[in-house]
Amino acid sequence: MGSIEGVLTGFQVAFSMEGILFVLIGVFVGTFIGMLPGLGPISAIAVMIPITFGMDPTLALVMMAGVYYGAIFGGSTSSILLNAPGVSGTVATAFDGYPMAQQGKAGKALAIAAISSFVGGTVSVILLMLLAPALSSVAIAFGPPAYFALMFMGLTAITSLSEGSTVKALISAVIGFMVATIGIDAQTGTQRFTFGNANLLEGIDFLVIALGLFALAEVCTLIINRKDLSIDNAHKLGSLRITKNELKEMRGPMTRQSFLGFLLGVLPGAGATIASFIGYITEKKISKKPEEFGKGSVKGLAAPETANNAATSGAFVPLLSLGIPGSGTTAVMLGAFLVLGVQPGPLLMTDHPEIFWGIIASMYIGNVFLLVLNLPLIPYISKILKIPRPLLISLVIMFSVIGVYAINFNTFDLYLLLLFGVIGFLMRIFRFPAPPFILAFILGGMMEQAFRQSLTISNGSLAIFIQEPIALSLLIVGFLSFMFPLVRLLRNRKKERV
């Protein structure tokens, strides 16, 4: 069966009445669950699996795919409005989305997020359709040394993620890295800093830290300012209007991050979180006005939102064409396939072209639905910010509490959440930036594991990092991007002296 024929079959499936209906159900449920506290794509897919029993596999999977990217789409809402990211892929969204919403431009922020998500989603589906078979070799191209180099490259951006004191940014990062070392070390099974507490064995969950450092720290600030009952420009809150200039600004990040996000999504283990951070960082680095980032920059919001949705489609490459789940989410997605009696892998495309291409084709419709469903809702959703401060504060706290509780169903995590809330607040007062903390927490753990895997494989020889071309080139890029600001700093100093 030729692949053109396969693609056509896929479109037939996706554009049939049932196909359209199931995509609609999928994205609707996905967005809804994604907006709920603590429930990201993993739980969304897991709770939907039993419902698919006995359904036609193709339609069921088209729906499940919709649930998956719908949940990513919905996750950004709480990041933007409440500074409370519900899933890791939307932390970077809060960096600029929340400030923008606080300036009374909540509707605009949500609209930018929706449009960027749509573009990221759609462009990456086109890439998926054209390149899926060819990219399966890229998906496995990264060995441990290359992963180490990739994480290293991401970490070198720490200093660019913050304003003000570089030393403080680095201190934040080191502490974030330290927190990442808590738990059982995967390479040796050694317990590190667990104090014999079973709740710490698997390490501290990402959400505990994100909600503590971002949402609860913000709650503290809100409590102090609880007297200013409203935010600026409240009457324009729900307005979706995006100016021509802003659209122009979005164009660059959206194009670049659609590609970059997709590629990072293809790599197993990297995924939406890393794509959104790297997307944010690269846009900040190449921006002519990096000082706007973190204060409600249009680019700073468009970049991570495009990237995380593009990465979601990218993650389908290893899943569909190799049967390799690259993340916790795609692992559960793989489970959904198996329950329906479909085994994703190298044979899927030839054995079940209608499923392989049906899912991909349905993503076009799904993305359009998401946009159409979400845009009209924005004016209503953004009214959340009009809730009087005292009530809003209580609700954000409740949101964070359910979000964290739903990870392990365990109050221990909630006490940790409270602790990180306090830490986050102290960091704010003393002007230690939170983004480097969270970035080092995410990347640090993976970087350490990849480093040690590499050295076990090479029997302790560091040469492994320069023998592999991908690893070497990424290391060079990382090194240069680290040195570049330093060089500029030194040169400026010299100038001052002269």
Binding site: V167, I171, R389, I393, S394, I429, R452
Partner: protein, 152 residues
């Protein structure tokens, strides 16, 4: 003499780093890995000490505006502490009282304390919102939240 706030913070950080290092040096060794579990933590501990020293001697002093931002009125600190205690009690009672009851009590009293005057709206939100969440989670999504002492 500890003059600037940065110097005080750097002392705290050094204490943290030393504590972390002490624990790192107690990590058991594992015979089969060229880079053992303690290598990175030791490195991080040392790095934090170095950075803290850097902070101690760093010249950038706070601007007046920044200092102002740091000064929180006593009344607000008290408010923060009270909310902190509320949240603590909320967490503490979550599994005993159940999600709906503890959340309702929390939302009502926390909003009241923070100065929300419309008691009817407050009570309504405090009851309906947790109920909505509870039903969505347990009935629709089959994810169980603590039921507590309520019979449903």
């Amino acid at each position: 003499m500890l003059k600037s706030i940065n110097q005080k913070i750097s002392i705290v950080l050094i204490v943290v780093a030393v504590g972390y290092l002490l624990l790192a040096f107690q990590l058991p060794s594992f015979p089969y890995s060229p880079v053992d579990a303690d290598v990175l933590p030791k490195g991080l501990g040392v790095l934090l000490i170095l950075l803290a020293i850097g902070l101690y001697f760093s010249k950038d002093t706070e601007t007046e505006a920044e200092k102002e931002q740091r000064r929180i009125p006593k009344k607000d600190i008290a408010a923060l502490l009270v909310v902190f205690v509320f949240v603590f009690l909320y967490i503490f009672c979550l599994e005993w009282l159940g999600f709906v009851l503890s959340t309702a009590i929390f939302i009502f009293f926390c909003s009241l304390y923070l100065g929300y005057k419309k008691h009817m709206t407050n009570a309504l939100v405090a009851i309906l919102f947790p109920l909505f969440m509870y039903v969505t989670f347990t009935e629709l999504l089959k994810i169980s939240l603590p039921q507590g002492i309520l019979p449903f």
